[in-house]
C-alpha cells in the first residue's frame, strides 16, 4: 500500500533578499485510500507544503524527510516525483502557449505510464472523462490553460488527476474560484478517483464547503508552518463554527 511520509519538514523561501522559514517541522502520513484535509488560515504555509512536495524550485528544503513507499522524494526531480506517483492539482495552473490540451495529456500519460497509451482506447478514455467533467470536446484542441476561465482550469486539473491515476494526489485550493455547480462537478471527479481506493488524497483548503462533497477521513489544522491539531471530520465542523482564531493567536499551535 502506497504511503507518503512527511517527517519534520522544514522549508524556506527567498523573499526580498531575506530567507524566510515557512514550514517549521511538518509531520504527516498519508496512506493509499485515505483522504486528509489540511485546513488553515491564509499564509499558514499550506500551499508551500503542496509545492514543496511537488518539487517547485522556489522552495528550499532545510530539514526533514519525505518518502513515498520508502523512496526519498526530496532527492527526485520534479518529473521523477510525478512518475513515482505524486500529483499536484495546482491552485494557479500555468498557461503553456502552443501546446494543445490533447497533445499535453498524451505526452504526460506516456511519461507517467512509461509507454504511449494505445490511441483508440486513449481517445475514448479522454473523451469519456471530459464528458463526466462537463467539458466541451473542443477543449482538447485549445492551448493548455490559455484563456481558460477559473472553472475550466480546475476541471482541467481534475481531468489530469483522473487520467494519470497517481498514488498520492495533492489538491491545492481546488475549490477556490468555483461556483456551486463547478464545485460539485470537480468534487465528483475527485470522488471517482478516491472510490478506486488506490489514491491517498491531501486536500488543501481554506474553506469547509468542499468538505460537503469530499468527505475527509482526517482533518489537520495548519498554522504557523506546522500541523497544530489533528482530528476526524468533526474537527472541520469546529473550524466552521469557531474559525482559525484559536490557532493564529498562538494558543493551540504553540
Amino acid at each position: 500500500m502506497a504511503t507518503l511520509e512527511i517527517h519534520d519538514l522544514h522549508v524556506t523561501v527567498e523573499a526580498d533578499n531575506a530567507t524566510k522559514e515557512i514550514l517549521k517541522g511538518v509531520d504527516l502520513t498519508v496512506k493509499q485510500g485515505e483522504t486528509h484535509a489540511i485546513m488553515g488560515p491564509n499564509g499558514s504555509g499550506k500551499s508551500t507544503l503542496a509545492y514543496s512536495l511537488a518539487g517547485h524550485p522556489k522552495y528550499t528544503i532545510t530539514g526533514g524527510t519525505v518518502t513515498l513507499d520508502g523512496e526519498d522524494v526530496l532527492e527526485m526531480t520534479v518529473d521523477e516525483r510525478a512518475r513515482a506517483g505524486l500529483f499536484l492539482a495546482m491552485q494557479y495552473p500555468v498557461e503553456v502557449p502552443g501546446v494543445s490540451v490533447s497533445n499535453f495529456l498524451r505526452t504526460s500519460a506516456t511519461a507517467i505510464r512509461g509507454e504511449a497509451p494505445k490511441l483508440r482506447t486513449w481517445v475514448k478514455e479522454v473523451k469519456e472523462t471530459m464528458e463526466r467533467l462537463n467539458m466541451d470536446p473542443a477543449f482538447a484542441e485549445r492551448n493548455v490553460n490559455e484563456g481558460f476561465s477559473g472553472g475550466e482550469k480546475k476541471r482541467h486539473e481534475i481531468l489530469q488527476l483522473e487520467l494519470l491515476k497517481p498514488k498520492i494526489a495533492i489538491l491545492d485550493e481546488t475549490d477556490s474560484g468555483l461556483d456551486v455547480d463547478a464545485l460539485r462537478t470537480v468534487s465528483e471527479g475527485v470522488n471517482r478517483v478516491r472510490e478506486t481506493g488506490e489514491v491517498g488524497t491531501l486536500l488543501i483548503t481554506h474553506y469547509t464547503r468542499i468538505l460537503r462533497y469530499i468527505k475527509p477521513d482526517f482533518v489537520h489544522v495548519f498554522a504557523n508552518g506546522r500541523i497544530a491539531e489533528s482530528g476526524g471530520a468533526e474537527l472541520a465542523d469546529k473550524l466552521e463554527a469557531e474559525g482559525y482564531e484559536a490557532y493564529t493567536k498562538g494558543g493551540a499551535s504553540e
Binding site: 500551499s47 509545492y51 511537488a54 518539487g55 517547485h56 524550485p57 522556489k58 526531480t77 520534479v78 518529473d79 516525483r81 510525478a82 512518475r83 499536484l88 495546482m90 491552485q91 494557479y92 495552473p93 500555468v94 498557461e95 503553456v96 502557449p97 502552443g98 501546446v99 494543445s100 497533445n103 499535453f104 505526452t107 504526460s108 511519461a111 507517467i112 492551448n143 493548455v144 489530469q160 494519470l164
Partner: protein
C-alpha cells in the same frame, strides 16, 4: 504563489498604425532607393534602418571595404522547360522587381559580375521544384538572381544557403499575371557567415506569391523581403521561421507596399531564441497607399524566448492612406518559456528536455503546416529538433 504570465523578457515590442500624409517608412530611410552605392552614405549605426544591426560584424559590406574575393558554389537544378542564363545590368529583367533600399543592397548591385536569370515559361506548371544551392567556401561575394515566372505558370523554388560566406545579394521575383510562385529560402549557414540580402517580389495581376524564409544559421543574417503589386488581385503570403542561438543576430525586415487596389497580404513570422546574446529583429512595414482600395492585409510576429540572455526587437508598422479597405491588422508578441511552464509540464511527469521540445514544436507547428512543401516541412521539423538538441 503568483500566477505565472507570459511577460516579455529582455525584449521590446513596439507598434504603430499611422494615418499620415507623410510615410514614416520612407522618411526613416537614410536615402531614397537607388542602384548606385554612392547614393547611400556609409551607415554609422544610429540610422533608423541600421540601429539594430551590429555593423562591426558585417565584415565591411556596408562601408565599401569588403572586396569580392570569395567563392560561393552555386548549383541550380532546373526541371525541363526552365532556363538558366547569365545576364548583365542592361537586361530589362535585372532590377525590375525592386530597387535597393540600403547601402548593402546597392553595394551588391554595384558589385556583382553577372546576374543569373532563371525563367519559367508562361503557362508552364512545374511538378518538381527548382532547387538552388549556394554553398559558401569563404570570402566575400556579391550576387544578383532573377526568377522570372511567366503568366499563369506555377513553380516552387527552394534556395539553400550553407557553408561559410560573406554574402550580399539581391533576389528578384517577377511573378507574371495569374502565376503562382512559392519560394523557400533557407539560411542554414555556418555560424561564421554574414548574409545581407534584399528580396524583391513584383506581383502581376491575380498572381499568388508565397515566400517562406527560414533562418537557422549565420553570425549575422539581415534579410529584406519586399512585395509590390503590378496589378490588382495579387496575393502575397510571407512566412518566416527563425531559431536564433547564442551570439547570433538574425534580422528580418519586411515591406508590403499595397500600391494598387484589391490585393491581399498576410505576414506571419515566428522565432525562437536561446542563449546569451541571441538577438532577433523583426520589422514589419505595411503600406496601404491612397490608390489601394479593397486591400486586405494582416501581419504578425511571435517570439518565444527559451532562455535568459536573449533579446527580441519586434516593430510592426502599418500605414494607411485610404479607409476603403477590407481589413488591416497587425500583432506582435514575445513570450517566454519560463520556469513556471517548465515546472507545470515536469509536474506531469514530462522530462525537462521533452517539455522544452513540446513547447517549441507546438509554437512552430501551425506555421510549418502552412508551407505546403512536404519535404521542406519534414526538414524544418528535424532541424528544429536538432537546434533544441544542441541547446543549453
Amino acid at each position: 504563489m503568483a500566477e505565472a504570465q507570459n511577460l516579455p523578457v529582455g525584449s521590446t515590442t513596439a507598434g504603430a498604425v499611422a494615418v499620415a500624409a507623410e510615410s514614416t517608412v520612407a522618411t526613416r530611410m537614410s536615402a531614397p532607393p537607388s542602384f548606385d552605392v554612392a547614393d547611400f552614405p556609409v551607415p554609422h549605426g544610429r540610422e533608423e534602418e541600421w540601429r539594430f544591426t551590429p555593423l562591426e560584424r558585417l565584415k565591411g559590406l556596408h562601408d565599401g571595404t569588403a572586396k569580392a574575393d570569395g567563392v560561393l558554389k552555386a548549383d541550380i537544378t532546373a526541371p525541363d522547360g526552365v532556363t538558366v542564363e547569365a545576364a548583365g545590368r542592361d537586361d530589362a529583367r535585372v532590377g525590375r522587381a525592386g530597387t535597393p533600399v540600403d547601402r548593402v543592397a546597392a553595394q551588391a548591385y554595384s558589385a556583382f559580375e553577372k546576374a543569373t536569370v532563371v525563367s519559367v515559361p508562361k503557362e508552364q506548371v512545374l511538378t518538381e521544384p527548382v532547387r538552388v544551392t549556394l554553398h559558401g567556401e569563404g570570402g566575400t561575394t556579391y550576387g544578383h538572381t532573377v526568377f522570372d515566372v511567366g503568366a499563369f505558370a506555377e513553380a516552387v523554388i527552394i534556395i539553400d544557403h550553407t557553408g561559410d560566406a560573406v554574402r550580399a545579394a539581391n533576389v528578384d521575383f517577377l511573378v507574371g499575371d495569374g502565376a503562382k510562385l512559392t519560394v523557400v529560402s533557407v539560411q542554414d549557414w555556418d555560424d561564421t557567415a554574414v548574409h545581407v540580402s534584399q528580396h524583391n517580389a513584383l506581383l502581376g495581376r491575380d498572381a499568388s506569391f508565397k515566400s517562406v524564409v527560414v533562418t537557422f544559421g549565420g553570425d549575422v543574417v539581415r534579410l529584406h523581403p519586399r512585395v509590390q503589386y503590378a496589378g490588382p488581385g495579387g496575393e502575397a503570403e510571407l512566412f518566416g521561421l527563425y531559431f536564433t542561438d547564442a551570439g547570433q543576430h538574425q534580422e528580418h525586415r519586411l515591406l508590403v507596399d499595397h500600391n494598387v487596389p484589391h490585393c491581399k497580404s498576410n505576414v506571419v513570422y515566428k522565432g525562437a531564441l536561446q542563449g546569451d546574446d541571441a538577438h532577433a529583429v523583426w520589422i514589419g512595414d505595411v503600406l496601404i497607399e491612397a490608390a489601394a482600395e479593397g486591400t486586405d492585409t494582416y501581419e504578425m510576429n511571435r517570439n518565444l524566448v527559451l532562455t535568459d540572455g536573449a533579446r527580441v526587437d519586434s516593430v510592426p508598422n502599418l500605414e494607411i492612406e485610404t479607409g476603403e479597405i477590407v481589413g488591416a491588422g497587425h500583432a506582435s508578441a514575445t513570450g517566454r518559456f519560463d520556469d513556471e511552464q517548465l515546472f507545470y509540464l515536469m509536474a506531469r511527469g514530462i522530462p525537462e528536455k521533452d517539455a522544452r521540445r513540446l513547447v517549441v514544436r507546438g509554437f512552430f507547428a501551425e506555421l510549418v503546416q502552412q508551407i505546403g512543401v512536404p519535404d521542406i516541412e519534414e526538414r524544418l521539423i528535424a532541424k528544429i529538433e536538432e537546434e533544441l538538441e544542441a541547446s543549453v
